[in-house]
Amino acid sequence: MQKERGIMTGFKIWKHFKREELYECYQCARCTGSCPAMEVAPAFGPRETILKCLGVGYDEVVEDERIWLCCTCNVCEDRCPQKIPISELLVALRNSAARRGNIPGRLSMAIELLAKTGRSMIVHQLDEMRFHHGLDPLPPAQIDEIRQILKKTGLGEVIEF
């Protein structure tokens, strides 16, 4: 596992995201003030993420599970006075985190489910409910096709399924 992580850290996010773009941030916190994630996780937001990326390095940032709270709604980016592509940064960070295996358990479970059943949720109870309401059972998902898509997008390199 240790060795594997070593290979994974070879992935540099600055190759995919221009570090210079972050230098223009003057920490006005309009992004965090606009972030819907602050309802569920106080004291987290793009401002802090940017500051940490520059100040302590992104390695530390990708360890932080809270980056997965971003729903890429882009509001921060729309309101950023310096036009910093914040959503792109968070996507790059999460890609990096995923490659290092830092995916929250709930999320990797959902991906596993998706790969195995073609759905990201367990739907047995749903079928019962549908039957109760006189509806036909759900049609089977195209598992093979979904697995192929997941492989092509490169998810297979990050998570085993």
């Binding site: 920490q27 006005c28 916190a29 309009r30 965090t32 003030g33 004291a43 309101r79 006075p81 036009k83």
Partner: protein
């Protein structure tokens, strides 16, 4: 044009004292401390220069511009009988006058000096490439020496200056400038667009940091303007046309009808009678006024006016005469017409001020949607005793006094979404406003959401300290969003306190957006009329940011107040006095020397075709077929040189920028490795200054460009371009001011026309058109200049030797018929 022209004691004559076969050129290579010496090996450059033809003396100097440096030049001129001087140092835009004066005091005609710009155009832009920088410096010095060999003595004309001034804009800066010049005894026309002078300062309640009542200190100055015998106050007036040049401007002013005569005593009887309503501009739209109104109580002139856009009477049809009936002095005249005034002035001060940023675009703040979100300008009117609420702090939704007030800083400033610059006044204005509230209603809770507090001026930090002591809460972190409670009108601010690293959710009764300031939306109009430059933010640009901060690049035109950049009242007044004193210098002297760079026509070669007269932007060329030749009116000629390339017979040349001189520079630059080089022709006012700015900003770009200065890009002759290509140059760049920004009345449209013609010729001959580039670079666009060079350099890499030789062959076959260039 009745400008009396006095020729200097000596008329222009060939340099009989120093025949050209006895050239004795002195070359001085300046180290400028480490500025040049740190990159360019100056001793090596001086050594190289010593072997150039005609050079009698070549030395390096630590600081050529210093007293000992100048003394050395003077001594050498006498001792070594130098008859030309080349100084390789900084840009001629900085020290050409210094060295010219040194030459003159040693008895050498100042026009026999040439400068090589090895600082801004060499050492500063190739900081880490000593070898190439040194090689380039040698080239630049060589070019300067070859031009110096062709220099001739010139004698400057003296032009009288009309001892009258025009001030555009009647804000505090315009008022101060007018008073200063009028007190010095000069006639001043103060042109104000609105119905009263006073400007932004009249709208503000108190001033920082002293908390003086704004209108109380301004009103005495305003009335002084009104009664000053030397000031002609023109309100409701706009500048429509400006002709002429330094010392002799002819200005057309449109004075709109006021419809109320001078007899008006401002009794106000008419207001009650008027049935028409309009939002009051002076109160930032917070109250209403009538169609007949006085802008504000202290207005100067203290007369009513009729807003014809609101009045029921229009275009001579009188539908309502209630005000006329109500007026006891019978001073209302519906039939009054707009007037076009013609005035002649010697100097102009531009003090047009600023607009306020409109935050409607920042939808998350809800300005315009939530009634209790207002701007600082609206707040000033709200808290002013003369304002709509009589100085009571009330919030717009329910007219109750707010208990919790928030100020949001940097709205519309320091942002790529609005204005990128800091607006300079908002921090202190907010602190002052917060203290005003605390003064009247101490129990009000005040929050200031800021990003940085910039309290840099005298007394500013004290005020900031006082605000904190009086309990104003400063929160670092601008709210991301404002939510309104539609029932109560209260506002909730969502954001992050970055110092605590925690979220906040503050409920406020009223939010005041501390909005920035920006150039007037129609500032471009005056810019075109006066041939001014503007920086990238749209403010008018000064001639030099440090040493000529109130001059413009147009002689005789000066800047005052926030039109030049965001400023508070004190700075505006300081600058206005500076502008007035600069204008006074010209007017008290009564005459000015104009550079001897005019065009001259050889009547022997002239065929009186008149093409030159057609391109002259100043109508300075006159003549006709019957006379057999045309001639240049020297006092009217501004020295752009646009006429020279137009002449097919080589009959025109421009003094100090002759064909011979420039061709000499081109030839020298392309003596070696021509295919790797780029010849860049840059106009003195924009592109050359832009290249200087690239140097000042230390923007690095490829070293193979050789810049040749002309006054206007329209001076660049297609023959020069052809010459350069025949010499096998890699690329040619012609750069000038942006269209409509041209320093010479759009002379640069000729540049575009000539370049397009040359492109067509290249197309026909199947020569790669990319090798000739036309670029508009303004004085503030150093980065743009560097980018253009970078792009051309990329193009050069693809160029093969064969292609260059091919082009030379093709061009030779179709060479321009006749010119002194060939």
């Amino acid at each position: 044009m009745e400008v009396i022209v006095q020729l200097k004691d000596k008329l222009e004559k060939p340099d009989t004292q120093f025949p050209s076969n006895d050239l004795r050129i002195g070359v001085y290579v300046c180290h400028c401390g480490k500025n040049i010496g740190g990159t360019v090996r100056c001793e090596e450059v001086a050594e190289y220069a010593g072997h150039l033809p005609g050079v009698a003396l070549a030395v390096d100097s630590l600081y050529a511009c210093s007293e000992p440096g100048q003394e050395q030049i003077k001594a050498d001129i006498r001792e070594h009988k130098l008859n030309r001087v080349v100084v390789a140092s900084c840009t001629p835009r900085l020290h050409e006058p210094t060295f010219r004066a040194a030459c003159e005091s040693a008895g050498l005609n100042p026009y026999l000096l040439e400068m090589a710009n090895i600082r801004e155009h060499c050492s500063w832009v190739h900081l880490h490439d000593k070898d190439h920088a040194t090689a380039k410096a040698k080239d630049l010095v060589g070019m300067a020496v070859s031009r110096a060999a062709n220099l001739m003595p010139q004698f400057e004309l003296t032009v009288p200056i009309i001892r009258k001034a025009m001030v555009v804009g009647g804000g505090v800066a315009g008022i101060q400038a007018s008073l200063d010049m009028a007190d010095s005894g000069y006639k001043v026309y103060l042109v104000e667009r609105t119905g009263s002078i006073g400007g932004r300062m009249a709208q503000i309640d108190k001033t920082f940091p002293t908390m003086d009542c704004s209108i109380c200190i301004l009103a005495p100055k305003m009335s002084e303007v009104g009664r000053h015998p030397n000031i002609d106050l023109l309100t409701l007036s706009e500048v429509k046309e400006v002709q002429g040049h330094i010392g002799n401007f002819r200005v057309k002013i449109l004075k709109k009808a006021r419809h109320v005569s001078k007899e008006c005593s401002a009794c106000g009887e008419c207001i009650q009678a008027c049935p028409q309503l309009a939002p009051d501009e002076f109160n930032a739209g917070l109250s209403i006024r009538r169609a007949i109104y006085i802008p504000f109580a202290q207005a100067v002139p203290s007369r009513f006016l009729i807003d014809m856009n609101r009045c029921l009477n229009n275009q001579g049809i009188v539908a309502c005469d209630r005000c006329f009936q109500a007026c006891t002095r019978k001073c209302i005249d519906f039939a009054e017409q707009d007037e076009l005034l013609n005035i002649e002035v010697g100097t102009i001060v531009v003090a047009t001020g600023v607009d306020v940023y409109d935050p409607t675009a920042l939808t998350e703040l809800g300005y315009g949607k939530f009634p209790n979100v207002i701007t600082t300008l609206e707040f000033e009117r709200l808290i002013s005793a003369g304002g709509p609420s009589g100085g009571e702090l009330i919030r717009p939704s329910d007219r109750k006094r707010p208990a919790k007030v928030a100020f949001l800083q940097c709205i519309g400033s320091r942002s790529k979404r609005s204005n990128p610059y800091c607006s300079n006044v908002c921090c202190m204005n907010t602190i002052k406003d917060a203290l005003l509230i605390k003064e009247h209603w101490p129990d009000t809770e005040i929050y200031v959401f800021y990003l940085d507090i910039r309290a840099f001026g005298k007394g500013f930090e004290d005020l900031f300290q006082r605000a904190r002591r009086e309990g104003v809460t400063f929160v670092r972190g601008i709210p991301g969003e404002i939510i309104e409670d539609i029932n109560t009108g209260d506002l909730t601010l969502l954001g992050e306190n970055t110092l605590l690293g925690s979220h906040y959710r503050h409920s406020m009764d009223m939010v005041i957006l501390s909005v920035g300031i920006k150039p007037r939306k129609d500032s471009g109009t005056l810019q075109r009329l006066l041939n001014l430059s503007a920086d990238t933010d749209g403010f008018y640009m000064e001639a030099h940011p440090k040493l000529r901060p109130v001059d413009t690049t147009t002689g005789g035109v000066f800047l005052a107040g926030a039109a030049e950049g965001p400023k508070d009242i004190k700075d505006s007044v300081t600058q206005a006095s500076a502008a007035a004193s600069r204008a006074n210098i010209l007017m008290s002297k009564g005459e000015v020397k104009v550079p001897a760079i005019t065009a001259r026509i050889d009547s022997g070669k002239c065929t009186a075709c008149g093409l030159c007269a057609r391109v002259c932007p100043y109508h300075a060329i006159e003549g006709n077929k019957d006379q057999g030749y045309f001639r240049v009116i020297e006092a009217a000629c501004q020295g752009c040189g646009a006429c020279v390339p137009e002449c097919r017979f080589g009959a025109i040349d421009q003094a100090h920028f002759t064909e011979e001189q420039i061709v000499g520079q081109i030839d020298k630059a392309l003596e070696e490795n021509a295919r790797e080089k780029i010849i860049a022709f840059a106009c003195n006012w924009c592109s050359y200054a832009g290249a200087d700015f690239a140097g000042v900003s230390r923007i690095q770009y490829p070293h193979n460009v050789r810049i040749i200065r002309t006054m206007c890009s329209a001076r660049v002759s297609p023959r020069w371009i052809e010459r350069a290509f025949l010499k096998g140059v890699g690329g040619v760049l012609v750069s000038g001011c942006h269209p409509s920004d041209c320093h010479y009345n759009n002379a640069n449209q000729n540049t575009a026309r000539r370049i397009e013609k040359f492109w067509r010729r290249m197309d026909k001959l199947e020569i790669n058109k990319d090798r000739l580039r036309l670029a508009w670079v303004s004085a503030s666009e150093g980065a743009q200049f560097a980018r253009v060079i970078q792009e051309m350099e990329e193009g050069l890499k693809k160029l093969t030797r064969k292609k260059i030789l091919d082009a030379v062959d093709k061009l030779k076959k179709t060479q321009c018929k006749k010119s002194e260039a060939s």
